[in-house]
Amino acid sequence: MPEGLHESDVKNPVLRWVDQRLPVISMVQREYGTFPTPRNFNYFWNFGALAMISLAIMIATGVVLSMQYTANTHMAFDSVERIMRDVNYGWLLRYIHANGASMFFIVVYIHIWRNLNYGSYKTPRELLFMIGVVIFILMMATAFMGYVLPWGQMSFWGATVITNLFSAIPVVGQSIVTWLWGGFSVDNPTLNRFFSLHFLLPFVITGVVFLHIAALHITGSNNPLGIEPKGPQDTIPFHPYYTSKDSIGIVVYLLVFALLVFFAPNMLGHADNYIPANPLVTPAHIVPEWYFLPFYAILRAVPNKLGGVVLMGGALVVLFFLPWLDSSPVRSMRFRPIAKWAFLLFTANFFVLMWVGGKPAEAPYILIAQVCTAYYFAYFLVILPFLSKFERPLPLPESISRAVLSHRGGGPLPAGATAKPMEKA
C-alpha cells in the first residue's frame, strides 16, 4: 500500500480505493455500524433519528416548492394558491411541508422531553445539549419565517407582532425593527429577506446537526437508567439493533404524518391565513402556530412590554444553564423520587401554557398564564437547584446489563454476563 493512505477493511476494490483516500465508509461503519450503544434504549431514543428524517423531508419538499413560489407581496398569496390548484402534486408537497413543520416540532419536543426526563443534559453531555438548544432556536426562526411566506393575514400579522418584539429593546429597538423590515412596516423587502433566510437556515441547521451528532459520538448516548455503560456487556452495536428499532419508529412517524397530510391537512393551521394579507386590518384574534403557543403565553403573561419579551427569551436561554442548575449526579428521573413529580408537573404545566397561549389575552387566562410562567421558571431556577442538594435519590443499579437482565424474571445471572462496577473501565 502506498504511504499516506487510510487503513481500510473494505473488501470491494473500488470502494476500498475510495475509502483509503477518503475514509467515509470506515466512518459510517464505525459511527453507525459497530458503534457501541447502551442495550437498554426505549422508544424515546427514536426521536433523534426522527428529527433527522423530518429535516430531510422539509428540505426536499421545500426545495421543489421554492421553484413554484414567488416572493413578492403582490404575487406570493396567489403563487401559493397556484401551487395548491395548478402545480402537479403541488397540494401534496405543500401539505407535507406545512404539516412537516408540525411533525418536526412534535418530534423535537418529545426529543427534548426525553432529554429532561433522563437527565441527558448532565455531564459529560452539556455541550451536546446546548448545541441541541441552538438547533431548537434555529428551527423556531426558520418556522416563523416560513409561515410568513404565504402572505395571508396570519403571516402578515404574525410577522408584525414577532418583529415588533425587538422594539422592546431600549434606545436602539426601533432602529433594529426598521432594519429587520427594510422599511417602515412589514412589506415587500421583509418578505424577500424572509424567503432568503428561510431557504438558508435549514442548511445552517444541517451543519449544526452534524456538530450535535459529532458531540454525541464523543460521549455516547445516555440511556433510560442514566448510568454509563461499564463494558461490552452493557452495549450492543448500533446496527442492526438500533437501525431496526429506529425503523419501527419511522414507520409509526410516517403513519401519523400521512394521517395529518391526507385527512386533516389544515387542522393545525389557521383559517385566517387563507385571507390575503391586509396591512390595515388586524384579525380579531392573532395566534401563532401551535408550537409557539407556550412561549407566546409567557410573553403575554407579563403586563409590561420589555418584561414580557425578556421572559419569553429567558424561557429559552435558561435551558443553556440547565446542566449547572441541576447539579444532582443522578441523571434519570426514575431514581429521583421528588424531582420526578416536579418534572411531571412541569410537563403538564407546559401543556397548560400551550392551551392558554391560544386563548384571548383576558381574565382568567392571563392569571393562569402567570401562574404557569412562574412554575416554568421555578422548575429550573428553584426546584432543581434545591433538589440537587436535598433530595435523596434511590439506589442506582450496579450496571445496565444487571438491571436489564434482572427485569426478565430475575434469577441468578450467568457468570460473566454482568460486570461489577469499576471492574472494567
Binding site: G182, S185, P303
Partner: protein, 202 residues
C-alpha cells in the same frame, strides 16, 4: 496602546531562560516584546477591516432609497365630518385621522397628567388652532397591531379612543395609552397643514 507598551514585562517560558537562548532576537530590548505590539496592531487593523466590509451587508438591509422616497403622503380633510375618522396609508402603516367632537376634546383635556403612563397634554398632540384634528399612527405601541375604533361600529375601549384586540391596550380620545401592555401613546407623525383642509404626513 500606551498602557500596553508601559505594562511590566511578562514572563513567558522563552523569557525565563537566558537571553542567549533567544535565537530570533525578539526579546533583546527591555519592556514588553515587540511581538505583542505587532499582534495588537494586526488584530486592530483586521477588526477595522472586517467592520468596513460587513457594514455594506448590514446597511443593505436598511430601508432603500425607493422606500424612503415614498415616505410622505397627502390627506384631504374636507369630506370628514365631525366625529368621523378615516385611515390613510403612510409608509405602509395606517394613519388615523379623526375629527373630534368638542366633547371628546373636553374629555382628553380633563385627564390629570399624573394618571397617564406616557404623560402628554392633549395640546402637545395636536396643532394649535386645529385641535379638532387628531392625527396618529394607527399602530399599537405594544406589538404593532392596528387598534379598532375607526369605524362607528368598532369597539373603542373604555376611554372612547381606540382598543387593540391583540393584547388588550386601551387608548383615549387623544390617542394616549390608558390601560393594557402598550408602553407608549400612539405616535403622532410629523405632519403639516398645507391648507385648511389638507395635510402632508411625513
Amino acid at each position: 496602546m500606551a498602557d500596553v507598551l508601559a505594562s511590566p514585562p511578562k514572563t513567558s517560558p522563552s523569557e525565563a531562560g537566558p537571553r542567549q537562548a533567544d535565537p530570533v532576537g525578539v526579546h533583546h530590548e527591555e519592556g514588553p516584546p515587540r511581538r505583542d505590539f505587532l499582534k495588537l496592531a494586526a488584530g486592530s487593523f483586521a477588526a477595522v477591516g472586517v467592520g468596513v466590509v460587513v457594514w455594506p451587508f448590514i446597511n443593505s438591509m436598511n430601508p432603500s432609497q425607493d422606500v424612503l422616497a415614498l415616505a410622505s403622503t397627502e390627506v384631504e380633510l374636507g369630506p370628514i365630518a365631525e366625529g368621523q375618522a378615516i385611515t390613510a396609508m403612510w409608509r405602509g402603516k395606517p394613519v388615523f385621522v379623526r375629527r373630534r367632537t368638542p366633547q371628546e376634546i373636553q374629555e382628553a383635556r380633563a385627564v390629570p397628567l399624573g394618571e397617564l403612563r406616557d404623560p402628554a397634554t392633549d395640546q402637545s398632540r395636536t396643532k394649535p388652532g386645529k385641535e379638532q384634528w387628531l392625527i396618529v399612527v394607527g399602530v399599537c405601541t405594544h406589538l404593532g397591531c392596528v387598534p379598532l375604533g375607526q369605524k362607528p361600529t368598532d369597539a373603542r375601549g373604555d376611554f372612547g379612543g381606540w382598543f387593540c384586540p391583540c393584547h388588550g391596550s386601551h387608548y383615549d380620545t387623544a390617542g394616549r395609552v390608558r390601560r393594557g401592555p402598550a408602553p407608549l401613546n400612539l405616535a403622532v407623525p410629523d405632519y403639516t397643514f398645507t391648507s385648511d383642509t389638507r395635510i402632508r404626513v411625513g
